[in-house]
């Protein structure tokens, strides 16, 4: 009788843990999706072409000419 209850108990525990394992796997999956999308989004925003365009057109930035550079020697 005792062992029968024990079997039931352990089976129940297994199921419960399996369910939570499944949940965690699903979470991993979802986080992976999000991570991938964020990475893509970041690289789209930070693409060199876009930064160059903004720097040149919107912020009016240019590369300093040779005579505008100040060299500091230690």
């Amino acid at each position: 009788m005792g062992s029968a209850v024990g079997v039931i108990y352990s089976k129940h525990q297994t199921r419960k843990m399996f369910v939570s394992l499944q949940k965690l796997h699903k979470q991993i999956d979802e986080l992976n999706i999000e991570w991938g999308q964020l990475q893509l989004e970041q690289s789209a925003w930070s693409s060199h072409g876009r930064i160059e365009k903004i720097a040149r057109n919107k912020l009016q930035m240019t590369l300093p000419r040779a005579n505008e550079i100040l060299y500091i020697k230690q």
Binding site: F18, Q22, D29, N32, I33, G36, Q37, Q39, L40, S43, A44, S47, H48, G49, A66, N67, I69, L70, Y71, I72, K73, Q74
Partner: protein
């Protein structure tokens, strides 16, 4: 008329009825025994076969990063929609809903399903965004399933497409490094057992038979910033000079790492729907060309190595041409009596031929071989060519033409590697597409003194007196050599078709970067290597020096007010 003592004789009926009962019970017992114990495995299996399924779990393909950890290829999960046409037969009227959700033609889809009605697996649309997949699942149409897959994205697009290559829809590497490192990148699919309901929807996961093993990532030697710079500069040069194609390679001198490798024409690895064959080719390693005058420094290095030649030794180049075994080698004009330095500066074919023929064949060829000409660079890139360097007995004319870069062929990568020997004071390193953190053992191919002497000669090429002043970079010393090569077409060398080449290094006092630029057939008037290829070098390397924080080594022309020593104006 009733008799109280009447005792009916039902005994017989009773026995019959009871034994029928007993038989039925025995039959039930036997059936129970049969099903529960004797044939249990069979029934279990049949039951499982009807609702348990083993489904594969696709594994995450490893990502590819540049040397600073910027993503160059990443896989994100997507869903692929597939149907079992046999199961959907009764619900064909719902096909419109699927088509609408996926934004595809519903008539097409209907035809596809009717045509494949005997099949059990047909893809409707592969690699849809996960939120669209959720909508399909919500429709709950029997026989429609989702399959988790991974889609490959290339954030840098066409800037890195030749080097990275691409993987196909099944996550198998097809080209470039995706193919070269396919085994390392691809994971191992897992498997899980699931319970399905009558309609075949997955109800529950039962057990994980094998967890999916994700692929490993790769960190390349490529620097995405320099790669972008090289890509932009090469692209605009190819456009400006109306060239057919072009290649550029930047190497780290001390490690042999490939910091940038770009080609024109390029393609976008994310959208390969309209592609002409040939654009996939990473011309920097798969195409060979005759290096022309960019070969001369190596011939001079071979001469210096013998100890019989010195930079100031004179060679007679009059009258501007030189007959070898009945064939004529020509210079642009008669340079008269010039020394080795001037042979490089003025790029004299006659001069370098005479120097080469004063050497033994072995002395000349050994230098080329040690520098890696005609030998695979060992980069491991798929489809890499070895170039062509003939050995065995050579005629004097062949040796003379080799001394100025004809009768042999190289890839842009091989040429860059050979130049890195001069840059690294005579040591050549194996090239690598992977980031290297430890010092690499190189192989000495010429003495330090020789390398430095040749470098000094090449610095004069970039000076205002030389052919490649356009390769110069403000505040840095640059060494390099131009090449303007007659293209070899069937039947001989074309008079009016050229390759424009520039190979150089900076900062010349202690070079860190080597770059080779090659433009194939510029058709807009200009075609000299110094006019067409050298400006690309200057643009890319000046940017790269700044990005890599490499200190200027030539401040002689910096105005005094712009130079501060220890905080004080000097």
């Amino acid at each position: 008329m009733k008799n109280k003592n009447y005792k009916p004789h039902y005994q017989f009926r009773r026995i019959v009825v009871l034994s029928v009962f007993a038989l039925v019970i025995a039959g039930l017992f036997w059936r129970a025994l049969d099903m529960q114990i004797i044939n249990q495995p069979f029934f279990q299996q049949q039951g499982d076969a009807r609702h348990l399924r083993v489904v594969p779990i696709s594994a995450h393909r490893g990502d590819i990063y540049d040397r600073n950890g910027e993503p160059l290829a990443i896989s994100t999960p997507v869903d692929s929609v597939w149907v079992n046409p046999k199961e959907i037969k009764n619900d064909l009227h719902r096909v419109n809903e699927i088509a609408k959700t996926l934004k595809i033609n519903s008539q097409h889809l209907r035809n596809k399903l009717t045509k494949n009605s005997n099949r059990e697996f047909v893809y409707i649309l592969r690699q849809v965004a996960p939120d669209v997949g959720e909508k399909i699942k919500a429709l709950a149409i029997p026989g429609v399933y989702l399959q988790r897959e991974y889609k490959r994205y290339y954030p840098a697009g066409e800037v890195t497409s030749h080097v990275i290559g691409f993987a196909n829809v099944d996550d198998k590497g097809q080209e470039g490094l995706e193919l070269a490192y396919d085994e390392w990148l691809s994971g191992e699919s897992g498997a899980k057992r699931v319970i399905r309901d009558r309609l075949g929807q997955v109800v529950d996961d039962v057990e994980r038979i094998k967890t999916a093993e994700p692929g490993k990532s790769v960190q390349l030697s490529i620097d995405r910033r320099i790669q972008y710079l090289a890509y932009q500069s090469l692209k605009s040069a190819v456009k400006e000079h109306k060239a057919i194609a072009g290649s550029a390679v930047v190497l780290d001198v001390h490690t042999g790492e490939i910091l940038a490798m770009v080609n024109q024409p390029s393609f976008n690895a994310n959208d390969r729907s309209q592609l002409k064959p040939g654009v996939y080719r990473n011309r920097s390693v798969t195409d060979v060309f005759e290096p022309g005058s960019t070969m001369k420094p190596f011939t001079i290095a071979a001469a210096l190595e013998t100890g019989r030649w010195h930079p100031k030794d004179n060679v007679h180049t009059s009258p501007g041409y030189y007959k070898v075994q009945g064939s004529t080698i020509k210079d642009m004009r008669d340079y008269g009596k010039i020394n080795l330095e001037d042979i490089i500066l003025k790029s004299s074919n006659v001069g370098v031929s005479k120097v080469a023929l004063s050497l033994d064949q072995e002395q000349q060829l050994d230098m080329y071989l040690k520098l890696g000409f005609g030998v695979n660079s060992g980069s491991g890139f798929p489809g890499e060519r070895n170039g062509n360097l003939r050995t065995g007995h050579l005629s004097e004319f062949e040796r003379a033409t080799m001394s100025f870069g004809y009768s042999l062929s190289v890839t842009p990568l091989q040429l860059a590697r050979a130049y890195s020997a001069i840059a690294a004071n005579g040591v050549v390193h194996p090239v690598s597409f992977l980031r290297i953190d430890d010092a690499v053992e190189g192989e000495r191919v010429m003495s330090e003194a020789t390398a430095k002497k040749v470098r000094r000669m090449m610095e004069r090429v970039v000076s205002p007196k030389g052919t490649a002043n356009k390769a110069s970079i403000a505040n840095y010393r640059v060494a390099g050599k131009t090449g303007t090569v007659h293209k070899f077409i069937s039947g001989g060398y074309a008079e009016d078709r050229y390759l424009s080449v520039f190979a150089g290094m900076a900062p010349a006092s202690d070079p860190r970067l080597v770059m080779v630029v090659m433009l194939n057939e510029p058709r807009n008037g200009k075609y000299f290597g110094g006019q067409v290829a050298a400006p690309v070098f200057s643009r890319v390397i000046s940017g790269a020096l700044r990005l890599l924080d490499i200190a200027p080594d030539d401040l002689t022309y910096v105005q005094k007010k712009n130079l501060k020593v220890n905080g004080e104006s000097a």
